[in-house]
């Protein structure tokens, strides 16, 4: 067997640089696998950001030939006095808050239902996950047909029950709530699965304890089921917040921002500005407000809630 005392042991000890020849150090190994990916990500993520930043300081015109005029922070200032922007901002906030609440609530409900399934019925769990596999644009199409008065399920059911009326969910007043419901339909299954996985790790004895303490069903849920789920709920609050604020394809296929501008959330206002009005500089400035909104809202969630969870 190879003895440990090779002749160069002494010198190796004195020159750490030569240690473990032929083997990569932690740092080298890390560099080899991360640098190419990081360079790629920097190129394809930092470049567009940098480009957009540059655009945002310019007034871009296509009429009468392409022209870019340096306007400094003017675009940023203009956005703040833009009624469409503030309308979009409020709609985004409303849509996001509602989506987060609905997704977590429905995800929790789904998890509770499939948790209590007897073993023979467990395969139903696999069905509950399916909406998660539907793309956002697909969900948009589904909910467009589902909610419209002309084609919707509301009208169909009302008429089947003998009421001669049209029930439309895609209206000035209801469209955001209806869209939030659709977004929740799309995302709740994933939340349910993670909540379920956590629920199954709660010791069954705790439920026996709750029974001995004569807790009601609601109290059992509040004091036994819920506490271990708090971290998962926090993480998903962050994830769904980000996804809701940046969602575009879902709204695009569901309502195209309508009716009127009742569902023109920020991403949609941005899309109109940049792609329909071709006001690229202004759109770029707006996109940084959007980015700021995403970062600030996750920041707020983290500082008001996440830090407490992380410490436990």
């Amino acid at each position: 067997m190879a003895r440990l005392a090779s002749p160069d042991t002494e010198t190796a000890a004195k020159t750490p640089a030569t240690r473990r020849r032929g083997e990569l150090s932690n740092l080298q190994f890390a560099l080899v696998v991360t640098v190419p990916v990081l360079v790629f990500l920097v190129l394809v993520i930092a470049y567009p950001l940098g480009y957009a930043l540059n655009l945002s300081f310019h007034d871009i015109r296509f009429f009468g030939g392409y022209s870019a005029t340096w306007v400094g922070l003017e675009n940023y200032a203009d956005v703040l006095s833009d009624e469409r922007f503030w309308n979009g901002f409020l709609l985004t906030v409303r849509f996001t808050v509602e989506t987060v609440l609905l997704t977590l609530g429905i995800g929790m409900a789904l998890a509770l239902v499939v948790r209590d399934l007897p073993p023979r019925w467990r395969w139903l769990r696999a069905l509950i996950i399916l909406p998660w596999a539907v793309s956002p644009y697909g969900a948009g199409i589904f909910f467009a047909y589902l909610g419209r008065g002309q084609t919707g399920v509301g009208t169909a059911l009302a008429n089947a029950l003998g009421f001669d009326t049209s029930i439309n969910f895609i209206t000035q007043d209801l469209v955001v709530e209806f869209l939030a419901l659709g977004a929740a339909w799309n995302m709740a299954p994933l939340v349910a699965f993670f909540l379920l996985a956590n629920m199954l790790t709660t010791p069954p004895r705790l439920y026996d304890l709750a029974k001995l303490d004569r807790m009601s069903r609601f109290e059992t849920f509040l004091y036994v089921t819920l506490p271990p789920l708090r971290f998962t709920l926090f993480v998903f609050t962050c994830i769904i917040t980000v996804l809701s604020i940046k969602t575009f394809d879902y709204i695009f296929t569901a309502t195209q921002g309508g009716p009127g501008s009742a569902s023109s959330v920020l991403t949609y206002v941005l899309y109109r500005t940049s792609f329909q009005n071709l006001d690229l500089g202004y759109g770029a400035a707006m996109s940084f407000y959007l980015l700021a909104l995403i970062l600030i809202s996750t920041g707020i969630i983290f500082f008001t809630w996440g830090r407490r969870e992380a410490r436990r």
Binding site: M1, R3, L4, A5, T9, A12, A13, R20
Partner: protein, 366 residues
Amino acid sequence: MAKIELNNVVKTFGTQHAVKNLDMTIEDGELLVLLGPSGCGKSTTMNMIAGLTDVTSGHILFDGHDVTTLPPHARNIAMVFQSSLLYPHLSARRNIYMSLKRSGLSRSDIEARIAKAAETVNVAHLLDKMPNQLSGGERQRVATAKAIVREPDCFLLDEPLSALDAALRLTLRAELVNLQKRIETTMVFVTHDQVEAMTMGDRIGVMRDGGLEQIGTPTEIYNRPETLFVAGFVGTPPMNFLKGAVIDEAGKRLFVRGALRLPLTGESAGTPPADQVILAVRPHRMTLTEPGEQALPLKVYAIEHLGNETIVVCDSDDHDRIRIVVGSEFAASVGSTLYAGLDTSHALMFDPATERPIRAGKREVA
């Protein structure tokens, strides 16, 4: 076989000192147990001996050769990890084989070695099972086979038994000691369980906060703890500590605490007078006695019947917990008062400031 020396070994993680200026020699063929609470640096020390963790400063020598910068496999050691870690996706046989894959031995030599190692720890019938099909004890034996198949100079075991139930630990402990004596290979065993340390070790190194508190045979550690920490950490039930003072009265030394006045005898008779001392005494060295100035009044807190003896857990007047071992037929009600005497010839005196024993030899010779 190897004698392992650690010379002034230091390990820092960032600004945090995991191991501080450690000097230690592990003799050839010895079973040394590193004992200490979690976070004391014992596992870090073992990882440095193994070569898994770089040493910040200092040197590690195997048989006088500096191995400080050698990678693990060049040190010819074998290691068993916490919970007897095995490659989960490989069968027991492949797991053992992995120890020799890089050894350059021929296939038939390897087969023979695996068979022999499996024979030694009785796992021949388990070789084709996957780790998740093995029980905790079986997994431990396979991990041991994986270690001995290398015929290493030194075995390193990092709390291999900690995840097992008490009865199984008892069996495997004896098996490991027996094995180590048969193959006469140096073994370092890390544990936080002082019973495990006492029963297994030829010597025990007690660590705390990255430093070595004391190293010695189980008897030395038990009878002559060199720090308050060691005194309190080793032994079941743990040592009793009594705060008090030592005074000189007509040439005789007395331990004084409230109304208690105990003449010091034996070695402790040489303790120099001091305002503050801690008297440490094993629960076995205390007895129940009549009230008097040589008796410590105690309030019964709990009674633990062990069958062959009974441990009376009491509160002293300043709310230190005091344990006394008495006969199995003892009975008393919780909250009742009893009086304990103690044999000061078996008591140790500690200086509360330094937490070190007050040496009788250092008293004034006058």
